[in-house]
C-alpha cells in the first residue's frame, strides 16, 4: 500500500530485553515527568474565589438598560426578537399613561419582556439590533439553576436597578 506521508515508523516487534522487562527505568522516567509538573504554572484557578477576567467583547447575560433619568429605554419595538436566531425573546407592549413619564422613556414600553436563557445562544444580535440602546450583554454569564423554569428571565431579572428609586425586589426561587 502506498503511504500518504513518509513519516510512518515501522513498529519495533523485537522481544523485550531484561531491562525493559523490569519496567523500573520506565517508571522512573514517568515519575520524573510528573515531578517536573509540580514546578510548572497551574492551568486551573480556584473558582469562585478567583475569577478570570472577561474579554471586553464578551457576550454574557443580558440587561435592560435605563437612561440617565432612570427611565426604561426599551420601547418594545421587537427588533431584538426578530433578529434573534434562536427565537428566545418575547415581549408584550403597553402604552404609557400620563403620570408614568418618569418610568418609561417612550410612549410605548415593554410591559412584559422575557428571554429564554435555555434557547439563547449569546450571539449578540439583539444588542446589535436594538435602536434604543436598551439591551446590552454584560460580562457575566447566566448562573446555574436547579430547575428549567429558573432560566426564563423576565423584566425583574433583566432590568438594571433604578439609580434614583432602588427597587426592593424579592428574587423568585
Amino acid at each position: 500500500m502506498q503511504t500518504l506521508t513518509n513519516r510512518a515508523q515501522p513498529v519495533d516487534r523485537r522481544p523485550m530485553t531484561f531491562w525493559e522487562k523490569m519496567y523500573l527505568p520506565a517508571i522512573a522516567k514517568g515519575m520524573g515527568i510528573t515531578f517536573k509538573h509540580i514546578f510548572k504554572k497551574k492551568a486551573t484557578i480556584s473558582y469562585p474565589e478567583e475569577k478570570r477576567p472577561f474579554s471586553p467583547v464578551f457576550r454574557g447575560l443580558h440587561v435592560l438598560n435605563r437612561d440617565e433619568e432612570g427611565r426604561e429605554r426599551c420601547t418594545a419595538c421587537g427588533l431584538c426578537a426578530v433578529a434573534c436566531p434562536a427565537e428566545a425573546i418575547t415581549m408584550e407592549a403597553a402604552e404609557r399613561k400620563t403620570g408614568e413619564e418618569n418610568l418609561y422613556r417612550e410612549e410605548k414600553y415593554a410591559a412584559r419582556y422575557e428571554i429564554n436563557m435555555l434557547r439563547c445562544i449569546f450571539c449578540g444580535f439583539c444588542e446589535e439590533a436594538c435602536p434604543k440602546e436598551a439591551i446590552y450583554m454584560t460580562e457575566t454569564f447566566a448562573p446555574s439553576n436547579f430547575q428549567r423554569k429558573g432560566f426564563i428571565y423576565g423584566k425583574d431579572d433583566l432590568l438594571i436597578p433604578d439609580p434614583k428609586h432602588p427597587l426592593t425586589v424579592t428574587k423568585k426561587d
Binding site: M91, A93, A111, E114, P131, L159
Partner: protein, 376 residues
C-alpha cells in the same frame, strides 16, 4: 392577464387605436388616456415607479408626493421632443410612441433620492414605536431609494396626537400629506368630516373642531394611509405586524364584502385589515364593523394563510410549506407521550391566559398587566 385582456379587447374593437409606449426599453400597448404609471404596472416588475399618494381606487389621487417621477425622453411619434422636466407618471397620460425612462435613467433615480429626503424631512424617526413599521410604504421607499442620513438640521414639525373617533388615532407628525385619506373619506363615505387645514408647511389633516368620524367605511383611511399617521386604535401597540400571522378570512357582512385579512396571534384576532394587492392598494374596502368589532374568531371563516412576499419582514418566522416530521416517540414508547420537562406556557408571563389583549379596546396599559415581583 392584463395583456390577454388587452388583446381580446383589440380584436373586438379593431378601430380603437392603442398607444405604443416604451418604458425602460420595454414596449407595451395601452389604451389612450392611460397614465405612464398604469402602463408601467401593465409591464410589472422593477419598472413600476413607486407611488406614495397615487391610489388606483381613488379618483383624483396622485401628483402630490412626486416619488413616481419619470423621464420622458421622447414625447410622441408626432412630436419627438423630450419633456423638459421629469414628470409625475401617475398624472401624465401616454402618447403614441412615447419613450419613458424610469430605472434606466440616472436622473430619475437621483431625483427620487431627493424626493425621499424631502418626504423624510419632517417625518419622525419613531419606527420602533410606530404600528405601521413593517408594512410602511415610506419605510420601503426610503430603504430602496433613500440615503441613510438626513442633512436637515432644523426643528421638525410636530403635532399632538388626537383620536378621531373611537377607533382611529391620528399622528399628524408622521403624515406626508398624500391626501389619500381625504379622497377616501370623500368618495367612500357620504359625509366627509375631515380634510386638510392650513397651507404649505403648516398644513395638517384634521376634522372640523375635533369631530369624531362616525361612518361605516371611515376605517379604510387606516389602510390607505401609506405611513403610520392614521392607525387602528383597537390594535394600537398590541403587537408588531411581523409577529402576527396574516390569514385571509371571510365573514357574513351586510355592509361590505366581508373579505378581510385577520392578523392572529394563536387564535386571538389582534387586527383586521382589508386585503391589499402587490402595490399596497386595498382590493375591496371593508366596513368598520368588520374592522373594529369582529375580534372573535367565531365570526370569521378562515380561507387560508395570506401570501406574504418573502422579502417582507412579515414573512419572518412564518415557516410556510415546512414539512413537520412525524412524532415517533409515542409509537416507540407504547403510546406514552414523551415527558416534557418544562412547558414554556406554564412559566412565561407573555401571552398569559388572564390577559386577553384582543379583548382590550384600545392599547394596553400598565393596569392591564398584573405586576410580577414589583416590576411591570
Amino acid at each position: 392577464m392584463a395583456f390577454r385582456g388587452m388583446q381580446s379587447f383589440r380584436t373586438m374593437a379593431e378601430e380603437k387605436k392603442l398607444f405604443k409606449v416604451k418604458i425602460d426599453n420595454i414596449t407595451v400597448e395601452v389604451e389612450p388616456g392611460t397614465t405612464i404609471l398604469n402602463a408601467a404596472r401593465l409591464i410589472g416588475g422593477d419598472v413600476v415607479p413607486p407611488a406614495m399618494c397615487y391610489y388606483s381606487k381613488l379618483q383624483g389621487s396622485g401628483g402630490k408626493c412626486r416619488t413616481c417621477l419619470v423621464k420622458v425622453s421622447k414625447g410622441s411619434d408626432a412630436d419627438p421632443r423630450p419633456m423638459p422636466k421629469l414628470v409625475a407618471s401617475c398624472r401624465t397620460t401616454v402618447m403614441d410612441g412615447m419613450e419613458v425612462g424610469n430605472i434606466t435613467s440616472p436622473e430619475v433615480l437621483d431625483a427620487r433620492k431627493g424626493v425621499v429626503e424631502f418626504l423624510l424631512l419632517n417625518h419622525p424617526l419613531d419606527c420602533p414605536v410606530c404600528d405601521q413599521a413593517g408594512e410602511c410604504d415610506l419605510q420601503d421607499l426610503s430603504y430602496e431609494h433613500g440615503v441613510s442620513a438626513t442633512r436637515y438640521e432644523f426643528k421638525r414639525r410636530t403635532f399632538d396626537k388626537i383620536d378621531i373617533g373611537d377607533h382611529i388615532k391620528l399622528h399628524m407628525t408622521r403624515c406626508i400629506l398624500c391626501y389619500r385619506c381625504v379622497f377616501t373619506a370623500d368618495q367612500l363615505t357620504n359625509k366627509r368630516e375631515h380634510g386638510i387645514l392650513g397651507r404649505g408647511d403648516a398644513s395638517e389633516i384634521s376634522t372640523y373642531i375635533q369631530n369624531s368620524l362616525d361612518n361605516d367605511f371611515i376605517g379604510n383611511v387606516i389602510d390607505v394611509c401609506p405611513v403610520g399617521a392614521l392607525t387602528d386604535r383597537t390594535a394600537r401597540f398590541k403587537n408588531r405586524v411581523w409577529f402576527l400571522k396574516p390569514v385571509d378570512a371571510k365573514c357574513e357582512c351586510t355592509k361590505c364584502s366581508g373579505k378581510a385579512v385577520l392578523w392572529l396571534r394563536g387564535d386571538e384576532i389582534f387586527r383586521v385589515t382589508a386585503r391589499k394587492d402587490k402595490y399596497g392598494e386595498v382590493e375591496e374596502f371593508i366596513c368598520d364593523t368588520c374592522r373594529f368589532e369582529r375580534k372573535d374568531p367565531k365570526d370569521w371563516t378562515v380561507e387560508g394563510p395570506r401570501k406574504v412576499s418573502r422579502h417582507s419582514v412579515i414573512s419572518q418566522g412564518h415557516y410556510v410549506g415546512v414539512h413537520k416530521p412525524d412524532e415517533t416517540i409515542a409509537k416507540v414508547m407504547d403510546g406514552r407521550a414523551p415527558k416534557l420537562l418544562m412547558d414554556i406556557h406554564d412559566i412565561s408571563e407573555v401571552n398569559m391566559p388572564a390577559v386577553d389583549l384582543s379583548k382590550i379596546d384600545g392599547p394596553a396599559h400598565s393596569n392591564d398587566f398584573p405586576k410580577s415581583n414589583g416590576v411591570q
